[in-house]
Assembly symmetry: C2
Homo-oligomer: 217 residues x 2
Amino acid sequence: MTISPDLGLYLVTDRELCHGRPVVQIVEAALRGGVSCVQLREKSIPIGAFLEVARSIKAILAPRGVPLIINDRVDVALAAGADGVHLGQNDMSYPDARRVLGPGAIIGLSIESMEQALEAEEWDVDYLGVSPVFATPTKPEAKTAWGLDGLRRLRRCSGHVLIAIGGINPTNAAQVLEAGADGLAVVSAICSAPDPEAASRRLREAVDRHRSKKLTS
Amino acid sequence: MTISPDLGLYLVTDRELCHGRPVVQIVEAALRGGVSCVQLREKSIPIGAFLEVARSIKAILAPRGVPLIINDRVDVALAAGADGVHLGQNDMSYPDARRVLGPGAIIGLSIESMEQALEAEEWDVDYLGVSPVFATPTKPEAKTAWGLDGLRRLRRCSGHVLIAIGGINPTNAAQVLEAGADGLAVVSAICSAPDPEAASRRLREAVDRHRSKKLTS
């Protein structure tokens, strides 16, 4: 199933993991490689700088119809004219964010346990970030990884769009999609890649291959 | 000059300085003592808890017509239905916050230098927080104190409502008002007071005395 907006290959930025290359440059390369959604995550820069990067990226994404999602900060999303926010379990609650952003915003929510997934079933979230699907050094504080079995179980219980994140790379991408993910979210596999465009393309191919297979099966 | 809304005695909360007493309890006492505006400042608790406290305080202030101002977080202000935000120089810019919050919101801005004050003259901010008027242990990272002379100079240059903050107590309150402040903002003088109601009342008396004197002079 192709979902709308296309969250099939979802880049989550991480300034440190870009290894000195500007975030905007990584985003441009990732777009050329086929990324269909970008989440800007900034945890260590002042809000003014965050907003400035958000606007730069919005200007790149908007003409291509690629949504910009802001991590955590609902106010930055509003000020930057972003398409939505991604909420962690310690960020503003989903109902509050929805009330502030309105029905048209894309709002995603990280879930790290089945309990959180079941709570989210009550809400009209646009997607769940299944986090982490594999253990990853990017989020050392994260809970136990879902694994492919956990993702399959979740797929049976949840009616939401599921975006898997954590340790995804071209090698395991097909398995993650077969286990029930509607899309792949990646951080280091693109941000830290020597060639972010090529890295994005390999992941995009995995998503497209899986979609073709589903259409013809 | 009485300003509208009345920012004459402006409480800025600080969880740590309440010495274990709930912030809501300090706010209630301060209201009984004559505080006419409350800024909720939370720097160390998760956003959900921040929003919960904001709503509790909003419920106390609204029936009394006392405005609730949220420090820094425009999204929390929106979600809590607060009356406005107070921005530091490292928070969202004034024009961005105004765009997001709309013309009806109360938006204040901390200024720590004449340069920042002059920049703010271009904007329709509701007040400037003159910070710090005296050196204070609450904000050790703050710039050089304005002092009474600095406040007088600022009063001559600025058309904005000036709310002085930093080291204000019942002993120096009259001098600060005579130097040109339209209102007094206090943190520890109320939050850390053994009797926050009595402390607020003493400061309120200074504000009211100054206003009567101006009316009859």
